[in-house]
Symmetry: C2
């Protein structure tokens, strides 16, 4: 690692959780500087978990940095893609961490996107009933969303993230340089979650994104600002509601629809990646809100227009191939975690930046809305 | 369920944990009375997990009681035995609970011994990132130990309980009638954990057990007293140290040796069950303490004499078949969770009721002790 790299300007966002608060560091050079940044955590061993793609790009400099920092590091590389969020891969990762004798005071380090973060985070949560976790997200999606807040988990045939744990990291290192190796499609998918924070509770941020999204895509200060603003927004929500008993559900804006779409394509990321599902889901949430008379159709159009402008999908029909009918999509929502007593919970909106939790959405209303969307 | 059954005298032990305290109810008729006892928890669905042996004896009356109590109940039956504490069975149980649509406000109910409690408890901990758990232990071991305190988990090829979670139950129902169907060997194995509480910090209880163990084995008030005293002792330790950062490690008296022996027989419960491993482990811990000059040999003899009197094993050679040499047993201890920086943690004793945590036991001392035990 170079001293110059670590000396470059960084943003720090603190997640204020009683007894287990932690920092999110955002800036360039953090992968190469990891060894030094982890010293304060006082571990002896670090079990790195990553995927094949990320390993090719970033594993060697990371391992060199950890070893230079005096840490005994081992690594486990899983196949890239959502299919690794399975019991089978979780078992492999767990056994690999045990084989490398990661003990209670040691660290699991997740180097990669949301899949690696969710999988390695869950492995850390259950290894010896819980060891500390460092998240080192290498995608925009993971940097602004999944690496912060402690949600970890795997998928089952019944749906996504239905098995998992709340396990807060001890540190998040978001290396801004890592995003320069991302394919445009992945960057766009992550951008959906950036826009989400504006739509939930920050109309000014959404307006700023409408004006500055090109610069965010190009990199530089606007990108760093967008990442830090997103992390700060999420940190606030998580600090107020760690276990999703209330406000935190707002972060699911677009996700109930989105998860159903992901399930409908069998988690085939050639057809749909998570952020694209969220983009369509947010557009649907605003149109559904308009149909329920909660918000003007102009606001729903504005949301869809911005997502479309950056190149994101906004309609169910934007997903290639057959997804089944409205009834099938509704059934796939029923297995989402956000079900209570037969009613569906949706995040709906009264305007941009004015989202709210609706706990008692009747399945019939959703069915008729989806039917009209599919035939539009 | 009969009103008479529930009206019979019960002992209640409260586990005082900030924000998630719960009661342990001990008495007759609790399986048949479960439907009524669960009403205050306000769930709609109960996903019962049990094993083949327990299902034959207790599942029908339990399901009838739950349904009479207005609860939608489903059940999953796993093979009996330690082998069910695996990733494969965990995945099956998780999928079964998802298929029966156990939601966040619902309950997982573990009906059975320690294996079922650990497995179902872990499934509850990770299902939708955590749903509530009711423990209904049907063995003495589970009633006095594993059902109280929130430790859950499965085994891997690297050792026992190396993957798991802390997940406190919302209620524990210990049906005293259920113990009358236990084979003597299982009752004895559970008794090892009862005696453990005396050895840790309650010399008067150990003395009482020396005088009254026959009545505990026969049933009736002495048995109930022994169970309640054990639960109360454990509840106190757990309330003071939920996550085993200190005092709770005392509950591992006999377990570091015991787990190594269990691993050495490949968790073959024909050769050794957990409580037998603990009995041998406690005898070894006292003899090791004597060898280190911490306690008189007469105290070690007293402990072994009582365990032997009730029919429990006290020497490594009491386990049938070959266990390997001292080096192998030591290596199996090294993968125990209780390792820190290459030193071994043992619970040693300065007397009956005077156990303490020794964090810095040198592996060489253990090796020489085991070598002498194996050649004695």
């Amino acid at each position: 690692m170079s001293d110059t790299a670590l000396a470059a300007p960084r943003s720090t966002v603190h997640v204020a959780l009683e007894g287990r608060g932690y920092d999110v560091e955002i800036g360039p050079g953090l992968i190469a500087g990891a060894g030094r940044l982890l010293v304060p955590l006082g571990a002896r061993r670090v079990g790195v978990v990553t995927d094949e793609n990320v390993a090719r790009l970033h594993l060697d400099p990371l391992m060199a940095s950890l070893e230079a920092g005096g840490l005994a590091a081992s690594s486990t590389v899983v196949p890239a893609g959502e299919a690794s969020k399975s019991f089978a891969v979780l078992e492999e990762v767990s056994n690999a961490l045990l084989a490398s004798k990661v003990e209670r005071g040691d660290l699991v380090l997740a180097l990669g996107g949301g899949v690696v973060g969710d999988l390695a985070g869950f492995a850390a949560a259950i290894l010896r009933r819980g060891v500390r976790l460092v998240q080192m997200p290498t995608t925009l999606l993971a940097q602004v969303d999944s690496s912060v807040g402690g949600k970890t988990g795997i998928n089952t045939r019944h749906g996504k993230n239905l098995i998992g744990a709340f396990h807060q990291p001890s540190l998040v290192l978001a290396d801004a340089d890592a995003l320069s190796t991302l394919p445009l499609r992945d960057f766009r998918a992550g951008y959906a979650e950036v826009a989400k924070y504006g739509l939930i509770n920050d109309a000014a941020f959404f307006r700023w994104l409408e004006d500055n999204w090109q610069e965010v895509f190009e990199g530089g200060p606007a990108r760093t600002k967008a990442i830090a603003a997103s992390c700060a927004n999420k940190a606030g929500v998580v600090a107020r509601d760690e276990f999703e008993t209330g406000e935190r559900a707002l972060l699911n804006l677009g996700h109930t629809f989105g998860h159903a779409l992901e399930a409908a394509v069998g988690y085939d990321d050639k057809r749909l990646v998570h952020g694209e599902g969220v983009a369509i889901g947010m557009a649907l949430a605003f149109r559904f809100s308009a149909e329920l008379g909660l918000v003007g159709a102009d606001q729903a159009d504005r949301v869809a227009a911005h997502l479309k402008a950056v190149g994101l999908p906004t309609r169910i029909q934007d997903v290639p191939g057959d997804l089944g009918d409205a009834r099938r999509l509704l059934d796939l929502m029923g297995q989402d975690k956000k079900v209570k007593a037969g009613k569906l919970t949706f995040i709906l909106a009264r305007g941009v930046g004015q989202s709210f939790i609706a706990n008692d959405v009747a399945p019939e209303n959703v069915l008729s809305f989806l039917t009209s969307e599919l035939s539009s």
